[in-house]
Symmetry: C2
Subunit: 198 residues, 2 copies
DNA sequence: GAAATGACCAAATTGTTATTTTGGTCATTT
DNA sequence: AAATGACCAAAATAACAATTTGGTCATTTC
């Protein structure tokens, strides 16, 4: 749209975005103050409001950027030569590992549990929706190619994510946590084999 | 152990349990006071402490009773003549419907979301564990009878509950909520068909 | 004169203290 | 011996003061 990065003495918008990304990841949504973002970005507070109409909009842009990173990770992991099932597992693994390592996600999760900050909840939901939408796209492709049965792509993607998360998140239940290989094997068992053609 | 219900002018223990069950269901854990329970039960406060050493123990007994009710619902639903898959679906449907209609569960869920009361969390977890354990028992049976593959019963029961809940709880996601038939059909698709022998 | 700024303000958050409520006890009553 | 409710320390809540925060805008900067 309007990426004026021709070479300018200072790209204040970029400075703001970087400072905000660091602050949201380090302190969460509510503990991030516009004053500190301005200070960290080396910019007057009023300047932030020339790019973003308020704190919420700034935060939403940070989340959008993160979703972009996740998509990039997925695209980098995708190998068109591989069958759907293998790509699905590789992508889930890579994307969710990246997600769990990303400071912003970790901090927002903690903030939701501790304070229930609505903005943090919203951010995490946006990330989850984008992952589901991305998987749904590949499910659609796989259906077209006849690799899996004809199922509702959005519902299937939703179930796949939930199942994968259930497997990785078994901490508090009878079992001790599953290691990566066990997660993969069980995901195949509970999800993919039920979808196999024929 | 010590069920002295020979016929006594008043069974104070029972009165306390009934008053407590009503109060926990109506007001949740923290908003239930021992004073009110005593008053409602028509009993002196000190009397409660002759049966239960503290509020937590009283609450745990109420939860145990609820779990007993859930087991009764399950047993009533179980039809030994039917194959495993049918019984599983019927039981999940009946038990979770009962659970969602039970005032105590509904209230505790709300309390967890609103205040994060640890006792409420613990109570809900106990209910969930008991459901998983109950299903796991039937999974074991089904394996012995050769009705399903040889899988880890506890893990499978856990996954079954999570999948069923994911299907019933799709409110906030793309789709509008699924009706009962759709839930059943999709549960078969995503879970059972992957487990079918052969 | 357009872009950038920070002092400024109402509203929200946090810190503090006073008041009330609650879980649990135990001397007294039944 | 079983039941009770006045009683108490500790915890929760209310009431209020002090601080912080998101957002604005008159002024400054280039």
């Amino acid at each position: 749209m309007d990426t004026t990065s021709e070479r300018r003495p200072v790209d204040r918008r970029k400075q703001v975005l970087e400072a905000a990304a660091r602050s949201f990841a380090a302190f969460g949504y509510k503990a991030t103050t516009m004053d500190r973002v301005a200070k960290t970005a080396g910019v007057g507070k009023g300047t932030i409001y020339t790019f973003f109409s308020n704190k919420e909009e700034l935060f939403e842009q940070i989340v959008k950027d993160l979703i972009g990173e996740l998509k990039a990770v997925a695209e980098r992991t995708l190998d068109p030569a591989l069958p759907f099932a293998d790509n699905l597992l590789r992508i889930l693994q890579q994307v969710l590992a990246y997600r769990d390592r990303h400071g912003l996600i970790v901090k927002l999760s903690q903030e939701v549990k501790e304070f229930g900050t609505p903005m943090a909840t919203g951010g995490l939901e946006a990330v989850e929706r984008s992952i589901i939408a991305y998987i749904a796209g590949h499910v659609t492709e796989a259906i077209d190619k006849g690799e899996i049965r004809s199922v509702d792509p959005a519902l299937t993607a939703y179930m796949m994510l939930k199942m994968y998360l259930a497997l990785t998140d078994m901490g508090r239940h009878l079992h001790e946590p599953l290691d990566a290989d066990e997660v993969l094997a069980n995901f195949r068992l509970y999800c993919l084999e039920g979808l196999a053609v024929g």
